[in-house]
């Protein structure tokens, strides 16, 4: 389905992504781990075409999406939804509009300029908001929401795109444990219910192990691990994280697992 073949991205002399190949046969939830600067974000940005790769091919349903130009490129971006660490919503627009912006690709210039959304678009946006528990905020400005709420709105926007693939770039890195759990569960739910492939950059090891079917470890722009979560030994993980190992393992204490443990306790 998705085949990444020998992708490289150089920034001047720095090899941010170096000869990376990933093959995704069936829909799955993939976690990419690695220390900061390992090339995780750059890889996702090349897949979405926010950044152009220096060399390599990315095949999606046997089409090289790196060759797409103009309209085809925009349509690919519509099919390949992206979720960001900083949510990247439009802060001054209301939540409902923010979600409907996911449909921009299908709208004509005139219809978009005049904000003429159809009632079906409004309905499906509201349905999505309802599904992710954000219905009550529909008419609030996005900037008035908390980080976790904004990230869930961003997920709604992504789903509004009817994506075939979801990329999440550190979706929980700036969230508190409870919201981190909500967001990861939402992503997992999307994958389970709609069979959409989700590729997720994660900083903490534990989250990746808990939610993903497959873990890819990156180091200095190269893939150093690609297997089932159970195959990832502590020693290998330490090697991937290097100097940041303590932080990444420490992260397990503060992020998702602790919260779910707490909730289990209270339940």
């Amino acid at each position: 389905m998705l085949k990444i073949i020998n992708i490289s991205k150089y920034f001047d002399q720095v090899k941010a992504v170096n000869n990376v190949s990933i093959n995704v046969e069936n829909s799955s939830m993939i976690g990419i781990i690695g220390r900061s600067g390992a090339g995780k974000s750059t890889l996702l940005r090349t897949i979405n075409r926010l950044t152009d790769a220096t060399s390599g091919e990315i095949l999606f349903q046997n089409q090289n999406i790196l060759n797409f130009k103009k309209k085809d490129k925009l349509e690919w971006q519509k099919n390949c939804a992206m979720i960001f660490q900083q949510f990247n919503l439009v802060p001054r627009l209301d939540v409902l509009t923010n979600v409907m912006l996911g449909k921009l690709n299908e709208m004509s210039t005139v219809r978009a300029s005049l904000k003429l959304f159809t009632s079906e678009e409004r309905h499906s946006a509201l349905n999505l908001l309802n599904k992710f528990g954000m219905m009550q905020t529909a008419l609030q400005r996005a900037e008035t929401l908390s980080g976790g709420q904004q990230q869930r709105v961003a997920i709604c926007r992504a789903m509004m795109q009817d994506p075939k693939l979801i990329l999440a770039d550190e979706p929980i890195a700036s969230l508190d444990p409870l919201n981190a759990r909500l967001v990861m569960e939402s992503l997992r739910k999307i994958h389970d219910e709609q069979n959409i492939t989700v590729i997720c950059n994660l900083h903490t090891l534990d989250t990746a192990k808990q939610y993903c079917d497959r873990i890819i470890g990156m180091q200095n722009g190269e893939i150093v691990f690609d297997d089932l979560p159970s195959k990832l030994t502590n020693q290998k993980a330490r090697e991937i994280y290097g100097a940041e190992a303590d932080e990444a393992f420490e992260g397990t204490m503060t992020s998702v697992s602790l919260e779910s443990a707490d909730i289990k306790k209270t339940a």
């Binding site: 979405n48 926010l50 490129k73 925009l74 349509e75 690919w76 971006q77 519509k78 099919n79 939804a81 992206m82 960001f84 900083q86 949510f87 990247n88 919503l89 439009v90 802060p91 001054r92 627009l93 912006l101 996911g102 921009l104 690709n105 709208m107 210039t109 978009a112 300029s113 400005r141 900037e143 008035t144 961003a154 926007r157 795109q161």
Partner: protein, 284 residues
Amino acid sequence: MYSDNILGFETIEKNLKALAFKRLIYSFISILAILFLLSSGLTIAEENNAGSFQRGLSKFFDYPVDLFKEAFESGWRWYAYVFKYLPDLISTINMAFFSTLFGAIFALLLSLFASKNLIKNQYIVTLSRRTMDILRSFPELVIAMIFLYLMGKSELPAVIAIVIHTSGALGKLFSEAIENADNKPIEGLQSCGASWWQRVRFAVIPQVVPLFISYTLLRLEINVRASTILGFVGAGGIGEALSAVIQFRYGDEIIAIMFLLVITIISLDYFSRFLRGRLIGDNK
């Protein structure tokens, strides 16, 4: 080597002292020179002026006093002139509104192409920026005088002059606002497959619109003044009326026009504050 350094220090010290002394003398001489120039300038001004410079200076303060004296000589009769000049004022405000509106539209178009975060092509950005530089480098008065000469005395040349200056001046402010806009929403929409214009429309404009409104309203105030001044060189409106009554020294009418202008500027200030409040909302 070591002793050489000591010697070096001594020489430097000596030179420094000599320099400091020279500087002291030079400052003293220049102060004297300035004083001399000032005093001789005053004497020349005194000799050359038809009236004396000192008397001119006192007249400078007498003039407004005289105006008020004249205006109130016949009580509150000057008040009636306010209504006489109201149509002129409206024509001036019209000029200002019209030219601010068109200036802002051109500024918006130019600023989109002058913002590095929206246009990747460096040449287009530079070209648009230089265009705005040229547009705003000429004062309205200069452009207006050229157009008034070419097109005859009417409001239109003044409006064109103000539009030209406004699009250059506002365009620079607009493009700076755009470049300071947060890039995250723009990237967010780009990742959804939104086109360039859709990104501008939904990620840039909502962010910058409060600033644009503030800048435009401020420019409106400036343009009311500008179109008044352009009246002096024949662009009609209240400026022309003011220039006429000043020449004839009709104190009461001058006061009436001044009154109108002050009221206009104050109410514009209130109006813009109100509008800004309504449009931006009172968050943060």
